[in-house]
Structure formats: structure tokens, C-alpha cells
Symmetry: C2
Subunit: 153 residues, 2 copies
Amino acid sequence: MSPTSPASDEMIQQAIERIWETLPSTWHTVRGQVRRTAVEEFGVTLEQFHVLRHVRGGSATVSEVAEAKQISRSAVSQAVDVLVEKGLLTRVQSRTDRRYVALALTPSGDALLNAVFARNRAWMQAQMAGLAADDAEALLHGLAVLQGLFKNA
Amino acid sequence: MSPTSPASDEMIQQAIERIWETLPSTWHTVRGQVRRTAVEEFGVTLEQFHVLRHVRGGSATVSEVAEAKQISRSAVSQAVDVLVEKGLLTRVQSRTDRRYVALALTPSGDALLNAVFARNRAWMQAQMAGLAADDAEALLHGLAVLQGLFKNA
DNA sequence: CTTAATGATTATATAACTTAACTGTTCCGG
DNA sequence: CCGGAACAGTTAAGTTATATAATCATTAAG
């Protein structure tokens, strides 16, 4: 098999520029939709929502969420306070090592995540109505590349 | 010319999922790099940096920045206070309509933006080292599609 | 055992917002 | 014209999300 040719410097510069043109505004928009739904319909802030999202995404302790979100453990601990208070998250001390506190979604926390995501998916689907098949293909491929680039950075 | 076929529902679902897998973490990573540079090397917070960025991007008044960032005018006004204090931004009352205050980067504000972006470009280039030409192509195309989707939302 | 390391929490401070109230300016209908 | 509505911006006061530092409880290591 022939080795794939590397991208030119020029092309890489173009890609960087395009990333800056696209990511901040796009993520800001998507995030804004989630924020509105989360706040107005479910009474949780976007930050609280993201903590729940990380817990469901596999972060099972305060430290893991902090690591994933790149914020301090104490910030997470405080956010968890609120979420436990709201009945969306549980804290359970590990029996094998009692320093650890396992975080888990309550049924209503899980339902909240599902509901917010459902709303968001519907909204995104509306944005994507009429998307051409080849553009959708390009989107999938491009995002896969993007994901690979900054995964370990 | 033949009409392009629309993307299937399934494909759209896949795209939505991929967006959620990619955007938050990628933007978080890129943003983190900018934050470190801005804070550690230039003494401005990420939020202040983004205000400067919007001013250079064409938002010339408090209201325009607020609109672009989707935050309140008062929040921008307060951020501008700090940036003026730091000598990165100027406020100049319009002579034709004195309600308006034109925001403009000072030379050092402009230099700061350039420097932070230069650092970021270098870092991103490093991340993208060895990127294959066809992957770069896919990235450009995919991001263009993404940008189009949420531009007016 | 004692000390060090670890996970989590608490206390306290700060930055970045919000809403509400206010200032100054312009526009507009009478 | 002039008096009020609309508008751009600021100021005041309160909230939220974060940080750092100190502390507690637990486990690991010498």
C-alpha cells in the first residue's frame, strides 16, 4: 500500500483557521440550546448538566469528574452537593476503600439527561433538515478526523 | 443538474452523536490551551480574551459584543472596564450619536491577540503534525458543513 | 506505629455573570 | 419645539462557578 501523503503546511494553516471560525460559534450555539432547555425546563444549570453528563460518561468519582472537566476536586464536590440536594445524583462511599465516594445518577438524574438530550437532538435534527447525503458524509468524516487530532492533547 | 439526495435519518442521528462526541471535548481542549497561554503568559482571563477577539472580529460596541457573546450588556460593560484598565481596549464616544461608545483594540491589545493566536497556531500545528492530506481535506469540508448548519441558529 | 499519601470536603475569596435601577442621548408625535 | 418613548451604556447588588488553602478520614509504606 502506498503511504498517504502528508498535508501541506498551507492546508494545515487553513484547517486551523477553519477550526477557529467554526468551533467557538458552533459549540456556543449548541450549548446555548442545551442551556436554555436545562435551565428553563429542568431547573439545572449548564454546569450541573455537564457534571451529570460526565458521570453518565463513565466518571464515577469526584476526582474523575474533576480530571475530565479539568477543574478542581473541590469545585466538583460543591457541584455534587447541589445535584445530590436536587435528587439527581447519589454519593456512596466505597466499602473497599472508604476514601472513595462513588457517584451515580438517580433515576430522575438519568431521566433529566435523557430529556435534555432528546430536546437537543430534536433541535439539531431541525437544523440539519435538508442536509445533503454527501455533506452529511463529509461532516462525519471531518469530525472523526478532528476528534482524532485533539484526543490526547 | 441532478438534485443531491438528502441524508437519511439514520445518518443524521449518527452525525448528531458524533457532534456530541467531538465538539465538547475538542473545544474544551483547544480552549484550555488558549486559557493557559492567555492567563499564564499575558495575564488576561479567557473571557477577557474572547471579548478582545469579538472586537477584532467586528463587534464595535458593547451591544454588539453582548449580542455576539449572548450575554448581557452590563456584563460586557464590566469586562470592558477591566480591559480598558489593562490598556488593551479603548472606549470612544461616537460624535454622531453620543449614546454609542466605539470599542477598539489598542496596539497592545492587538499584539496580545496576535501573540495568543500565534501560540495557539503553533500548538495546533504540532497536534496536526503528520496529518494526511486527504484527512485534512475531509476536515476542511466537514467543518464547512458544520459551520453552515448552525450559523443561523 | 508513625508518617506520608490520597480522596473528599469545608472555608473563604474572586471572577463572571445576572437583573434592576439609573444616566445620558436621540427620535418622534402632538 | 417639547415631552415622552426608545436606546446605549453604566452602576449596584446578588448569584454561581470556580480557585486555593486548610482539614478530615482513610489507606499505604517505612
